[in-house]
Symmetry: C2
Subunit: 124 residues, 2 copies
């Protein structure tokens, strides 16, 4: 099987990494509207989870809401927030294994303090 | 049910949008290593699929590989490529409904011309 995959010389389903899609529900509206704070959280989490940052882009909506991404050598972290609903959608895409991604999820939960979280875990 | 949700005033599972996670397999290695071309494709697809761009960030790996994202008013498009495997991981996150996201997937397939595609569709 391994040999066959090597011969094919392509990444296929399940070989491109691991992605966590988390919905954070019941967060502080103030935090969810604070772009600088959210940027700081994502950069901090990226480092602490063992990822290497290669770029970032954030945007603040009017009257409210923040969207942003940290590009990683190992793929990306993204967040989109709805302060009016206390909710945020967080994506953690890691082509460097599951452990870093799960650590990032724990750190992001610690920072955003959602009352409730729903998670999809996808083998890319 | 609708009334109950309105009372809760929060977005919960299935209410934050729709996300397509696609693996493109068997693409041109040359295209997958061309950051400017990939940026141009993503920006073009974002517009043609009816999304509004609010930011972008791309990075070229050495010796090969491109990673990038277009931030949208409606969430994001991201791509991570492995030219050495002819493969790319594409995410299309739309909080503006499924139709735009599915249109973006068709347009991205037209541009990257993968020999094979695997897709996960997630209700966020």
């Amino acid at each position: 099987m391994e040999g066959k995959m090597a011969e094919r010389k392509e990444k296929t389903a399940g070989e491109m990494g691991f992605e966590i899609l988390a919905n954070f529900i019941g967060c502080s509206a103030e935090l969810l509207n604070d772009m600088e704070k959210i940027k700081s959280i994502l950069l901090d989490v990226a480092g602490k989870a063992g990822f290497t940052q290669v770029g970032e882009c954030f945007y603040k909506f009017e009257p409210q809401g923040v969207t942003g991404i940290v590009l990683l050598a190992e793929s990306h972290l993204s967040v989109h927030t709805w302060p009016e609903f206390g909710s945020a959608a967080v994506d953690i895409f890691s082509c460097a294994g599951k452990e870093n991604a799960e650590r990032a999820l724990i750190l992001l939960k610690d920072a955003f303090k959602p009352r409730r979280v729903t998670v999809h875990r996808i083998e890319r």
